[in-house]
Structures are given as structure tokens and as C-alpha cells.
């Protein structure tokens, strides 16, 4: 087995304050995990704001460099990527999905500009017809077609559709890994599951691994193969999704698990009444 992505003892410190009162914020502490190349999976990082989950995602994408430790993608140190050529080669294999689909596309630019730019740059296509064919093929994977997207602006489509287009764009270069940072937190619940289901299909049909960053335990349970729970930079619990989320053992994971209200009025109102009694 070869490692697709290997994080070993990754730390990230931020220095905050001016030159007179520097203090250090340990955003990510001793994070290690490995994703296998042969076994595509949905690997979920769960945490609240300030847990270090987004910083971890940014390091995997090469947007931040670790203070210590190493992140290797297919054996190559991500932090050592310098030249634009290497960077493009890396981006062809690792692609992001962002949190807010309305923010991920410039409202003054047509959506196809992003798709065509990706096809041109990463597939080296020059011919207009070839670019459009590659784009359309990718859009078909997410249940859309170029005809529906061409010339459109982001405000003309729903959050769910935009997020699908973002996925389609990420698929164009044929990536091995997709890093999705809170991809459904801004999507309506009626459309949310279509994105989450899509991740499953990508894993099963296209063999793409997905790092799913979220604060939402319910969708994490629904699609994840493995889960790590982060708290103030530390990984407090890691393992199979059903174990970690279904039956957490660490104190913090349990608190997080208990903070999730079920979509059931009987149980949810009982939880609130219980809280009330404690006041």
C-alpha cells in the first residue's frame, strides 16, 4: 500500500500581536494520519471553530506551511512545493471545495470562466471544443450539463447547484483528493444531502478520496469512513465513524456528541427541559 496523503506530527503555530508582545497560538498540535492511495475513503475532521480543522485543511492544500512535522502527498513534501509548475501539478491532484458556494464564485464573473480556466490550465487543452467537452463531462458527473451552466452568474443558481458546479470544477483535472471545508454549512437542508451523497458517489465511482471538514456530526456520521475529532489543535479521538461518533470515549467528544440535538421533538424538547432543570 502506498500513502496518498501522510501527515506526521504536524504542528502549526501562529504568532499573534505586534513586535513588542508576541505570543504564540498553537493552532494545530501533533496531528498525524494517513490516507491510502488504493483505498479511497471519506475522511472527516470534526471540530468547532478554533479547533484547528480549517488550518489543517489549509496546510493540506499548501496554503499554509507547518511549523514542524511533514505533510506528504504521494511521497512529496507539500511544503517544499515552490515553482509554479510544481504547484500546478500538485493542484491537479488535490482540489478544494469551499464553504459558501455563493462566495466561491465571483458574482461578477460567469461560472464557466472557472470551469474553462481549470480545463485549459490543468489539462493543457487549447482547442475550445476540447475544453467544453472536458467541462461537460465533469458536469455530467454531478448531474448537470454545460448547457445549464454556460453564461450563468452565481446569483442565477441555488446554493446546491453552485456547490455541485464547484465539485465538477474540482473534478476536471482528475484529482486524487478533494478537501472540502464545511461544504454544506451554507447549503439549504433540502439540497444538503445531494452534496453529501455526491461525495459518496465520487468515492465509489471515481476513486477520489475526500477530506471532509465539518462541525456537523450528523452528516459526518452519515458519510464518513473514518473520523478524527479536533479540539483546540489536538486530535482528541480518531477511528471508524460509527465508533467515534456513535460511541465516543473522550470527554470532549462526548460533550460534542451530546450537544447535537436530534431532529425529533420528543427527544429534543426533553433535552432542553433537562437543561432547564439544571439551571
Amino acid at each position: 500500500m502506498t500513502a496518498l496523503l501522510e501527515l506526521s506530527d504536524v504542528n502549526k503555530d501562529y504568532r499573534i500581536g505586534g513586535f513588542l508582545d508576541r505570543s504564540t497560538l498553537h493552532a494545530v498540535k501533533h496531528v498525524s494520519f494517513t490516507l491510502e492511495e488504493e483505498k479511497p475513503e471519506i475522511f472527516t475532521v470534526v471540530g468547532e471553530s478554533g479547533s484547528g480543522k480549517t488550518t489543517t485543511a489549509r496546510m493540506i492544500l499548501g496554503n499554509e506551511t507547518p511549523t514542524s512535522g511533514s505533510l506528504r502527498f504521494m511521497g512529496k513534501d507539500i511544503a517544499a512545493i515552490r515553482s509554479r509548475k510544481e504547484r500546478l501539478a500538485f493542484m491537479a491532484k488535490v482540489q478544494p471545495i469551499f464553504q459558501n458556494p455563493f462566495e466561491a464564485f465571483n458574482p461578477l464573473t460567469t461560472l464557466d470562466y472557472y470551469l474553462f480556466s481549470t480545463a485549459r490550465r490543468f489539462l493543457g487543452l487549447k482547442d475550445k471544443a476540447a475544453v467544453e467537452a472536458a467541462t461537460d463531462k465533469s458536469l455530467q458527473h454531478v448531474g448537470l450539463s454545460l448547457a445549464e451552466v454556460r453564461g450563468r452568474y452565481s446569483h442565477e443558481l441555488s446554493g446546491g447547484q453552485l456547490q455541485r458546479i464547484a465539485v465538477a470544477r474540482a473534478l476536471i483535472p482528475g484529482p486524487k483528493l478533494i478537501v472540502a471545508d464545511e461544504p454544506v454549512s451554507m447549503v439549504d437542508s433540502s439540497l444538503r444531502m445531494s452534496i453529501v451523497n455526491l461525495f459518496r458517489e465520487l468515492r465509489d465511482n471515481l476513486g477520489v478520496s475526500i477530506i471532509y471538514i465539518t462541525h456537523d456530526l450528523s452528516t459526518a456520521y452519515y458519510i464518513s469512513d473514518r473520523v478524527i475529532i479536533m479540539h483546540k489543535g489536538d486530535v482528541v479521538e480518531a477511528g471508524r465513524a460509527a465508533d467515534v461518533l456513535g460511541n465516543p470515549s473522550h470527554e470532549y467528544s462526548r460533550a460534542l456528541r451530546n450537544a447535537v440535538l436530534p431532529p425529533d421533538p420528543v427527544i429534543a424538547s426533553a433535552i432542553i427541559r433537562e437543561k432547564l432543570r439544571a439551571f
Binding site: 461518533l245 440535538l261 432542553i272 437543561k275 432547564l276
Partner: protein, 341 residues
């Protein structure tokens, strides 16, 4: 786990505290000759009883925020009330939000308060917290400065805040504290009616339950009514007595919380409930197809028909009225057939 729901008793005789009738509020815009009309609130009628928590559920741009802003009288152009009325009943005195503006202004905070979305920015950044309490509440309490201060301090203590926060500036407090503080501010005059806009959306998961319990607790103690909106169905499940489901500017279903969750009558509601993920369950959820309607150019007939699995020809042309059914109300031509299916 408890399986029996103890409903807060709702007196049937008492007059409703809020009556919204045939309310239409549209965004009317004109940019360099391009005219647009967005029907954010389109013919909504609802009543809210005393001592009741009413939740409005809906997705983004369904018009739910416009609805609650219109009820609060907090709208600014280009959003305008086109038709209908919003009437409160405070201690037997009727107050029309749009026809009696000065009386309404005087009633604010004494009878009617508001919890805004995004508690981060609702307090003036350059003034201390105590000034907010003074500005909002002092004139309604009829107390001396000293008594007022004591009253505010004890109120804060009751909701779990150190009275010393009064001497701080908003930027010195955490997000959770600020949200508590705004709830404290909204309840210090013990108003009969509280309007809350996404009261937990911006909060961290771990403090959400506390804030919900706080809202519920304060409401129970004062016997106030609350109307709140959120897209988060679990929040509705946790504290609402009744729920109204908004789709494309219209109220499509209304009922007791338990009924709506367990026996939804509108296909949209049914889908909304069915698509909610829960821990311990990996059965495949099916997402709703199609795209949310554009309120500037809504579909004809029933606005849900392009996405509805049960749609028939009549749905495409005729708008279903919101009618009483099974202890609730629903706007669907095929509501009766839903249960059979």
C-alpha cells in the same frame, strides 16, 4: 429518554397576542430603469397565542426573514408592506404595527422585544453594556437609577451572567456571552412578546443548548409569547410549540411541532423532515430535485409544483389555499392523499 411530551398549557379563551392578516411585503426596486418586484412575503396569515413559542421554518430566500422583519415593523425600503396588517394585543389594547407607528414605538421593549441574528454586532461598540440597558429599558421601568441598576444586575444573575459585564465594552465579551446578554436585554422588561431571528445560528455547538434552554426558561417564567425563525429544524424540534413552514414567500403548512415532525401534511415539509440526517442512521437520504424558486419570478399555481413529486396539472395553474386540516393548516391540493400514500 422521555417519550411523553408535556405541552405548555395554552388557554383557548385568551385573545391571540399577534394577528397577521393577509400580509404582503414586496421588495420594489428600480435601478436605472430595470424594475424588479420580489414577493418576499406573499399573503401570510397567522395568529400567535399567549404563552406560546411559534417557530417559522424555511430555507434561504424563502422569505422567512422578511416575514419576521415585517412582523417586527423593522423593514426599510425597498421592502414595503403592500397589503394586509400586523396587529398585536397588549393587555387588551390592540396595536397595529403599520397604522399606529408612534404608539408602536412607545410599546417597544415594554411589550415587544427583539433578539437579532448575529449577536456580535447588535451592541454599540463604543459604549458600555450598561448604557444599552439604560437606553432600551430605563424609561419603561419607572424606577430610580439605583433601583434600575439593582434590577438589571439581578436579572443578569438569573440568566447566568456576572453583573460586572455591565461595565465592559462589547468587544471584551465572548460570542456566547454577547448572545446571553442580548437575551437578557430583550427580557429585562418582561415583555409579552419576543421576536427572535436565528437566535442560535452564529453560536458554537456546545453553547446552543444552553441558549435554547435560557430562551425557553425565560419564556416559561414570564409567560411571554415568542416567534422565532431559523432554518435549523432541530431548534424547532427543541423549543417550538407550533411550527409554520414557509416556502417561496408563503406559509405552506402549520401545526403542532410533534405533528409536523411525525405527520407532515405538505410534500415539502415531508421531504424536509425526511432529509434530516441523524447520528446512528446511515440510510440513504434523497435530496429534493430542482432549484428553489426565484421570488422575482415565482412559478404559477402552487409554487412548489416544479419540485413536487406529487404534482398534478391543477397544481400548475391553481394556487392552493391554506386550509385547516388535522389540527393544523396546510396549502396543498393533494394533502388528503399524502396520508394514504
Amino acid at each position: 429518554m422521555l417519550t411523553v411530551v408535556e405541552k405548555t398549557p395554552v388557554s383557548v379563551e385568551a385573545k391571540p397576542v399577534l394577528r397577521v392578516e393577509g400580509l404582503k411585503a414586496y421588495y420594489q426596486m428600480n435601478y436605472f430603469g430595470v424594475r424588479r418586484e420580489v414577493r418576499a412575503v406573499d399573503d401570510v396569515s397567522l395568529t400567535i397565542k399567549r404563552n406560546e413559542i411559534y417557530g417559522i421554518a424555511g430555507e434561504s430566500s424563502s422569505g422567512k426573514s422578511s416575514l419576521i422583519k415585517t412582523i417586527a415593523g423593522a423593514i426599510t425600503p425597498p421592502l414595503r408592506v403592500v397589503e394586509g396588517s400586523v396587529k398585536f394585543d397588549f393587555g387588551g389594547k390592540e396595536l397595529d404595527v403599520y397604522a399606529q407607528r408612534p404608539a408602536m414605538k412607545a410599546a417597544r421593549w415594554k411589550h415587544l422585544s427583539y433578539v437579532m441574528q448575529g449577536s456580535m454586532n447588535v451592541l454599540n461598540p463604543v459604549r458600555k453594556v450598561k448604557h444599552a440597558f439604560h437606553d432600551f429599558a430605563f424609561k419603561h421601568m419607572g424606577l430610580s437609577e439605583g433601583e434600575f441598576r439593582a434590577k438589571v444586575e439581578s436579572h443578569l444573575q438569573r440568566i447566568g451572567l456576572d453583573p460586572r459585564v455591565l461595565e465592559s465594552y462589547p468587544h471584551q465579551l465572548s460570542g456566547g456571552m454577547r448572545q446571553r446578554l442580548t437575551i437578557g436585554l430583550a427580557t429585562v422588561c418582561e415583555p409579552e412578546f419576543i421576536i427572535a431571528d436565528e437566535p442560535t445560528t452564529a453560536l458554537d455547538v456546545l453553547v446552543q443548548q444552553d441558549v435554547l434552554a435560557l430562551i425557553k426558561g425565560v419564556q416559561q417564567r414570564m409567560g411571554s409569547s415568542i416567534i422565532f425563525v431559523t432554518h435549523d429544524m432541530t431548534v424547532h424540534a427543541a423549543i417550538a410549540d407550533r411550527i409554520g413552514i414557509v416556502y417561496a414567500g408563503r406559509l405552506v403548512e402549520e401545526g403542532l411541532t410533534l405533528d409536523v415532525f411525525q405527520r407532515p401534511q405538505h410534500p415539502y415539509t415531508a421531504h424536509l423532515i425526511a432529509s434530516l440526517p441523524r447520528i446512528g442512521d446511515t440510510r440513504k437520504r434523497v435530496a429534493l430535485g430542482g432549484k428553489p424558486p426565484n421570488l422575482a419570478d415565482p412559478p404559477s399555481g402552487c409554487r412548489f409544483h416544479p419540485r413536487c413529486p406529487l404534482a398534478i396539472d391543477k397544481c400548475k395553474t391553481d394556487n392552493p389555499p391554506l386550509e385547516a386540516r388535522n389540527n393544523g393548516r396546510v396549502a396543498c391540493w393533494r394533502a388528503g392523499e399524502m396520508e394514504a400514500a
